[in-house]
Subunit: 351 residues, 2 copies
Amino acid sequence: MSEFWSPVVHALKPYVPGEQPKLTNLIKLNTNENPYGPSPRVLAALQQQVADTLRLYPDPTGMALKQAVAHYHGLTPAHVFVGNGSDEVLAHTFQALLKHEQPLLFPDITYSFYPVYCGLYGVTAQTIPLREDFSIAVEDYARPNGGIIFPNPNAPTGKLLALEAVEKLLQHHHKSVVVVDEAYIDFGGASAIPLVKKYNNLLVIQTLSKSRSLAGLRVGFAVGHPDLIEGLERVKDSFNSYPLDRFALAGAVAAIEDEAYFQSTCARIIATRDVMSRGLQDLGFEVIPSAANFVFARHPQRDAVAIAQFLRERSIIVRHFKLPRIDQHLRITVGTDAETQALLKALKALP
Amino acid sequence: MSEFWSPVVHALKPYVPGEQPKLTNLIKLNTNENPYGPSPRVLAALQQQVADTLRLYPDPTGMALKQAVAHYHGLTPAHVFVGNGSDEVLAHTFQALLKHEQPLLFPDITYSFYPVYCGLYGVTAQTIPLREDFSIAVEDYARPNGGIIFPNPNAPTGKLLALEAVEKLLQHHHKSVVVVDEAYIDFGGASAIPLVKKYNNLLVIQTLSKSRSLAGLRVGFAVGHPDLIEGLERVKDSFNSYPLDRFALAGAVAAIEDEAYFQSTCARIIATRDVMSRGLQDLGFEVIPSAANFVFARHPQRDAVAIAQFLRERSIIVRHFKLPRIDQHLRITVGTDAETQALLKALKALP
């Protein structure tokens, strides 16, 4: 608390990311990182950036990356915004596109950064309860709003909303921006990006931190109608001219271009997820069908915090959210096969 | 223009950075990049980051970098904030510390991003004219204010404010945050960082883009009383958990630690600046004494835009600002000795 703080700072409730412990030999299943490293083509591209040219600013427009994303999705660079991780892209989106007179709508159980952005930018919001089974009821969004945002698959449930339902939302709310936050879409969902050409109110946000194995590089992007993208660019150019450094730009382009590596790592994670889900069910857990690189599960007879603590004592870290409706669930990242077996073995030993 | 934009977006006048042309064989003296590449120790540290560990998030607190900066300046990590370039640090500073009922004060000729941040965050501002010789008149700031910010040396003039004058400002405005933006301080000025222990209203911002040759890596930091730093952290943690990627963190630590390389490149640039200043004066230019890695100069008989165009046709790019009081000046980055000689030779051939 300080007299020097701007008024907004006093009321902020910052986001708390999953811990990044310094210990080695941990089985780290708490922040949804990819168990497989980035593609060899990415490492080669990064290698080239270790050079004297680091004395020069990067391209402030990130054009090479915009072109790579646009080409991948059959769009133009004017449809693409790039940022320093999808969290930065989300922040700019809240400020540039989601602050209106009517409240922003998002699910009651969702990415816990959304209410934080609302606090930072003074965005009024209303939460819409998920159904009992944690699915999004699109009909419940039929009320006056200044925008809609949700992750798909949802976080931290991993539950997918079918593309038809997403399209229904877009049609029923054609006067509002609908943001689909697809951080985990590559692990089994159908992206809404093909709908961008049809709906000028759709913004899709993705990250290279999960399916592209680049959490350490900080790259995210948004895809939408050029008018939406221009709104984001105006905010970005009023905030930081060069948000992506030379490594981020070069590594991200190479990651987008290496389709074979991307497909194979995603397929491995999906296969391991199935093993993990069945293993957890065999141990009595209730597992929400996941379309992400994590599963969200609870044990009807066991306390979630106690389970997390039991695992931690065995050097396995999972994520628990002390939040209404989900404080008996655990979010467990899909690791390697070996990590998954270690997890299941540890849980089998629960007293 | 779009109905989907938040109201603030319509009124934004984004910052326009110096161009980053794709052409090679240019003599690029327009964005104050360091003519010498980063230290070999920095390249070695970056090399180590080209690895599988990129799949993992970086340290969200940037603690290793905070420790390096704190150690360098004899402070603690609680005195240090780190960000994705000093522009991001500045943006958070405007939002976290400079938005108050009374107007923010800054010079009429200054870093042209300041009014842009004011627009982005709704900060009321008043500009205080520099004296005729472009020096800051600290007595003119004696009016009600919610904060004071200025670059030292000033941009784009390169003119230094003596540390005694900075301290006078701090004493006379002990109820306001005084931000000293020291992007260019290492090229001949005395930093205000030693005053941080004495004045809890002082925030000093520096960048690794200029004197540390790392414009391509995007790292900046702020140093101040822990209460000011906490205000910045709260905004940062409400915006982006991981603004610095693994390369930025590792490279910045190595850059701060390689004192010998840093001192030797700064000394070379200062020596070349003296040659360049004298050479310009010999050609009839009026040169403002510079404490930065650029000079700000005008020719009494020649139009600045025409000179810039003449140089551009000879593949030399300098920066011109179409702004009141300085539209007959050019800002010319100090390059290598060879680049400086090429610049002077080209100017000698002015028709």
